[in-house]
């Protein structure tokens, strides 16, 4: 009997286990999923909880319900992987041997990594919304907020769902407007990036939307610490941003068990080949979803699209054949912009988010980088798709690889040979 062990029963781990169960002969393959608890959190739903949009019951269901027949679920804390012995050790002393290991332990917010964040203000004036506790506590704080300075803040990249902080900001602005108190709330968006988003076209569009909503952007802001006495964010270059209410996205890090196993980089992400997700260090270990270090968004859509490619590749790999599938970094994210509207972005390793439209049979097309109510409804409908289609690993009619259909090609950037050293160095000095 060959043994496939999947660490983590979240979005990526559940999808992969279910898809591979259909592909791998039950007489020859045992599939086991390990997770520390039986609560599967629908993470995209967290965004709406601070504004009373979802109740906690709507976003948490038992993991067991989504792990298909013929797959063992083991609940327990993972101590570490011993990749030389092909064994995973659990904290309670269990030893789980494997022939192939899939690491899907995700990424988590780590407020402990920023001095002052977990001080007396935590969950009083400082909140995160990437955890169910944090999002729920923030709902109370927003309802009680009677004006002042709201700072939405990102500690460092990468963060999972990198558009979520912007979405939160748009939704907060609309929320205060609808409560008739927008004039009493100053909103600041503090980011370590040089603009609203990572890539130029989306950054310009999203930056304009922040301007239109009178939201100030504090860019290139790398937080060093939070001063709890004065309620101020302090950056490494000694800039200060005072706040009355701070909604922060703490540093995101991969699981500590990855670090304990010696399998992680400086943020506990597993270095993998970005096209096959195979570990760079071990030929029988893959890392999928947020747990790996591929240079694209940490997002459910990436987990989904990469899983499609991964499943075929895995079957080839275990049959001793070369893997022929190549993941392109495809990500696809709805971006809530407030007032019942949203946008869509679609991109991959090589193509940044562009304007245009995204064709989907029957439901679409959806506007890319353009606000519409259809995009908002698409985002809300996705929760049903997630529980009923995505996690069970049923086919969804979205191609795994990004398509240029409907996208507007940007004009090719002009470069000249006459550029002088002076202008070159000036640009680098500024950037």
């Amino acid at each position: 009997m060959r043994r496939l062990l999947v660490l983590g029963g979240g979005t990526a781990g559940t999808m992969v286990a279910n898809k591979l169960r259909r592909r791998l002969d039950r007489a020859q393959w045992q599939i086991t999923v390990v997770d520390q608890n039986d609560a599967h959190l629908y993470q995209p739903g967290l965004l709406f909880i601070p504004f009373g949009g979802y109740s906690p019951e709507q976003v948490v269901k038992p993991r067991r319900q989504f792990i298909g027949a013929g797959i063992d679920l083991v609940l327990g804390e993972i101590d570490r992987v011993d990749p030389e012995a092909n064994v995973v050790l659990l904290a309670d002393g269990q030893r789980l041997g494997y022939d192939y290991l899939v690491i899907a332990t995700g990424t988590s917010p780590r407020p402990d990594q920023t001095p002052g964040m977990l001080g007396p203000l935590w969950r009083h004036s400082i909140f995160d919304f990437y955890s169910l506790d944090g999002a729920t506590a923030l709902a109370g704080a927003l309802a009680a907020f009677d004006g002042g300075r709201l700072v939405v803040h990102i500690v460092d990249m990468p963060v999972k769902c990198p558009v979520a902080p912007l979405e939160f900001t748009f939704l907060a602005e609309a929320y205060f407007r609808h409560r008739g108190m927008r004039d009493r709330v100053e909103i600041v968006y503090a980011t370590p990036l040089s603009g609203a988003f990572t890539k130029p076209i989306a950054s310009a569009q999203l930056g304009t939307m922040l301007d239109e909503r009178k939201i100030a952007v504090e860019s290139d802001f790398m937080v060093e610490r939070i001063d709890d006495d004065t309620k101020v964010l302090v950056s490494y270059d000694e800039r200060e941003i005072p706040f009355d209410l701070l909604v922060t996205v703490p540093l995101n890090m991969g699981a500590d068990c990855v670090a304990r196993s010696g399998l992680g980089d400086e943020l506990n992400y597993v270095p993998v080949d970005k096209h096959t997700l195979l570990s760079k260090a071990h030929g029988n270990i893959f890392a999928i979803g947020d747990a790996n270090n591929i240079p694209t968004s940490k997002a459910g859509s990436v987990a989904h699209f990469s899983t499609d490619v991964f499943t075929d590749n895995f079957c080839q790999h275990v049959a001793g054949q070369p893997m022929t599938g190549s993941f392109d970094g495809h990500a696809n994210c709805f971006v809530e912009s407030g007032d019942g509207k949203g946008m869509l972005i679609d991109f991959n390793y090589d193509t940044e988010p562009l304007t245009g439209s995204y064709p989907i049979p029957v439901l679409g097309p959806f506007g890319l980088l353009r606000e519409s109510t259809a995009n908002h409804w698409g985002k809300l409908a996705f929760r049903w798709m997630y529980w009923h289609m995505l996690l069970p690993g049923r086919p969804i009619p979205l191609p795994a690889h990004m398509s240029m259909a409907g996208k507007h090609q940007p004009a090719v950037q002009q470069t000249t040979d006459q550029q002088t050293t002076e202008s070159t160095s000036r640009k680098a000095g500024q950037s």
């Binding site: 990198p162 550029q419 070159t424 680098a428 000095g429």
Partner: protein, 104 residues
Amino acid sequence: MTVTTIGTAQIHVDTEGFLTEYDEWSEDLGRQLAAQIGIELTDAHWKAIRFLRQDYPEQGETATLRRVSTLAGIPVKELFTLFPGKPAKKMAYIAGLPKPHGCV
């Protein structure tokens, strides 16, 4: 891509002036690139620059501040002092590496 001249060296750079050919770099060129943005390289600077140069071919990407801090043992605060303003970009510029892309 653009060809530009720094000192006596002809180098290939992108539209923002970042060197695009890893092998066109030398420590002497690094010194001149640093001078272009007003930095005189000390031993402390070189520790960071040499780490970036050695890390890039292994990783295929320019190291982030956090990576330099963790693996080369230089506190982030010190990197901001050595390369004021935007240390990640300035280090990449001097080390002749692509601008670090903020992950999407």
